[in-house]
Amino acid sequence: MALLDISNLTVEFQTASGMFRAVDNTDIRCDRGEILSIVGESGSGKSVSMLALMGLLPWTANISADKIEFDGRDMRSIDKNARRKIVGKDMAMIFQEPMSSLNPCFTVGFQIGEVLKFHLGLDRATRRKRTIELLEQVGIPAPESRLSVFPHQLSGGMSQRVMIAMALAADPKLLIADEPTTALDVTIQAQILELLVGLQKDKDMALILITHDMGVVAETAERVQVQYAGQKVEEQAVGNLFDKPHHPYTSALLSALPERATGRELPSIPGVVPGQFDRPPGCLFAPRCSFAQDVCNKGVVRQDEALGATLCNFPVNVGKADTVKPAEAG
């Protein structure tokens, strides 16, 4: 049984101009000790689906799913207090902007200690000892002296390390990292990614890495799930995804990378991600897809696992041996 098993998750937001669907029938599965990467452009619903799992969405959000199971527990029907005992303990999350996710009014030591007090009920002296251990684990030099430091006294990389220490405080089974290095410089990004992957291996945690950077995906992930406009369009092991992407969107995205370009002209994807009012009736990628045919405007089928569960009528990079489910209209 997978540690995290979400199927058919849909998240809609009430807006002044009607319902906006941010996540559309998405499945997410992640096993113990695995690194799953969710990749997609802005607005593809990658963060929202994780926030829905954590219960961090505002009341305007409408969440529906066939199944949201974490560690054998149904997270849909769980009450608020029981959820508080899981979130931050068994699953923890770190965010994109380390500078703004720490509370500026409290010291680093206090903020990490809070987790230890709430979830583990440690006393003051043990908390202090454990906090120092944690700071050491995430590679912060001179941890004793950092306990009384306020977040504004730390650099971006250091703040992210503190966030990681806080997330790891209660030994989570699942760590969700939402664009953890986007706001950081490349040399610091390399340090933080190395740290995350190292800790994941040591503790045998599951790690869900949300990112838009294909380079980060290639270097850290084991399995990759590609999101487009709220839908999961493809899921493959990292090596296969980069060698043989089956969805035209993944394929186009990979060839738009400057480092893969052969000429001066980059192969770009025309148009933009559909918004609230111009959502296509059939395949969401059809208006921008170079393989789209009439049938794609009516509906789209999901291919089987061998083809990366691609949500496409005409998947690309299909060898002769593979058989493609025929596209059905409507």
Binding site: E41, S42, S155, G157, M158, D185, V186, T187, I188, Q189, A190, Q191, L193, E194, H212, D213, M214, G215, V216, V217, A218, E219, V238, G239, F242, A252, L253, L254, A256, L257, P258, E259, R260, A261, R264, E265, L266, P267, S268, I269, P270, V272, V273
Partner: protein
């Protein structure tokens, strides 16, 4: 004057003095220290480095937003000055964040025509005509003329910002991280437009970026900066294929490559960028450098010509 390059800078520097507060002594931040380069017509010079290395300060100096406190900046052999109208028209800038650089209360038409109203005496109809031309050129539709910035996506806004920069027929565009706020599929569209425009108008680009894969794709020459100083400069291909400075090597190896089968051989940089208020003695990079020798801690290396590239290092090693 045909012999002078479009832009040449020698020992360009910008120092800021900071007051230290009631008890602390005041200090000087050398945001940019001794940068020398030339920019030719139709070429792209890329400036790369991490935050705080002075690349945006350089952009502000070249686009005449600020004046240098040291060194000399020449436009076609003449000292550059914001007082000379021709100089202001020669260089235009495109900023990183297209959400912050367009006035939300102005229509696109007004935004585009403003540079012309300030810098030329064209009539309203002529301004409108020019705006329509440029909008078409960057891939915006005529009906966008009467819309407000909030109605556009990030990629379209960046096109508007590029269009605005092109209104006065500049010969140099300073591009300060023009694609780093954009999604990958949109990034390729904007890079393609930039390449087409460069060919069509023979523009020179000063391309500021931290994304090395973009820089590798677009630039002819590259300048790597660290803590306000140029550490390595030369033809892009030479620098990327055979980086000599330990910082360039670390930067290249830290950049994630979208190839899961590639064997990782990463040079991990220890620590972080030192405070520019209190830079380390000697070479600014020495506390994080794996090649540092005694001399590096005592004196700062000068940028000298080394085979094909310029290099500021006492102890370079091939990768």
């Amino acid at each position: 004057m045909t012999a002078s390059p479009l832009i040449s800078a020698s020992n360009l520097g910008r120092f800021y003095s900071v007051s230290g507060g009631m008890f602390a002594p005041s200090g000087t931040v050398k945001a940019l220290d001794g940068a020398s380069f030339t920019l030719e017509e139709g070429k792209t010079l890329a400036v790369v480095g991490e935050s705080g290395c002075g690349k945006s300060t350089l952009a502000r100096l070249v686009s005449l937003i600020e004046e240098p406190t040291a060194g000399e900046l020449l436009f076609e052999g003449e000292p550059a000055s914001a007082q000379v109208p021709e100089h202001r028209k020669l260089v235009q800038i495109v900023f990183q964040n297209p959400y912050g650089s367009l006035n939300p209360r102005h229509k696109i038409g007004t935004i585009l025509e403003e540079p012309l109203r300030l810098n030329s005496d064209l009539s309203r109809a002529e301004c409108r005509k020019r705006a329509d031309e440029i909008m078409e050129r960057v891939g915006l539709r005529p009906e966008h003329y009467d819309r407000y910035p909030h109605m556009f996506s990030g990629g379209q806004r960046q096109r508007i910002a590029i269009a605005r920069a092109l209104m006065v027929n500049p010969r140099v565009l300073v591009l300060d991280e023009p694609v780093s706020a954009l999604d990958l599929s949109i990034q390729a569209q904007v890079l393609n437009i930039l390449a087409e425009l460069q060919e069509e108008f023979n523009l020179a680009y000063l391309f500021i970026s931290h994304d090395l894969s973009v820089v590798k794709h677009i630039s002819d020459e590259v300048m790597v900066m660290y803590l306000g100083k140029v550490v390595e400069a030369g033809a892009a291909k030479t620098v990327f294929d055979n980086p000599k400075h330990p910082y360039t090597q670390a930067l290249l190896s830290a950049t994630p490559v979208a190839d899961p089968h590639r064997k990782k051989k990463r040079i991990m940089l220890q620590g972080e960028l030192p405070s520019p208020l209190n830079p380390p003695a000697g070479c600014a990079f020495n506390p994080r450098c794996r090649n540092a020798i005694e001399k590096c801690r005592a004196e700062a290396p000068a940028l000298v010509f080394d085979e094909k590239t310029e290099l500021a290092c006492f102890n370079p090693t091939p990768l």
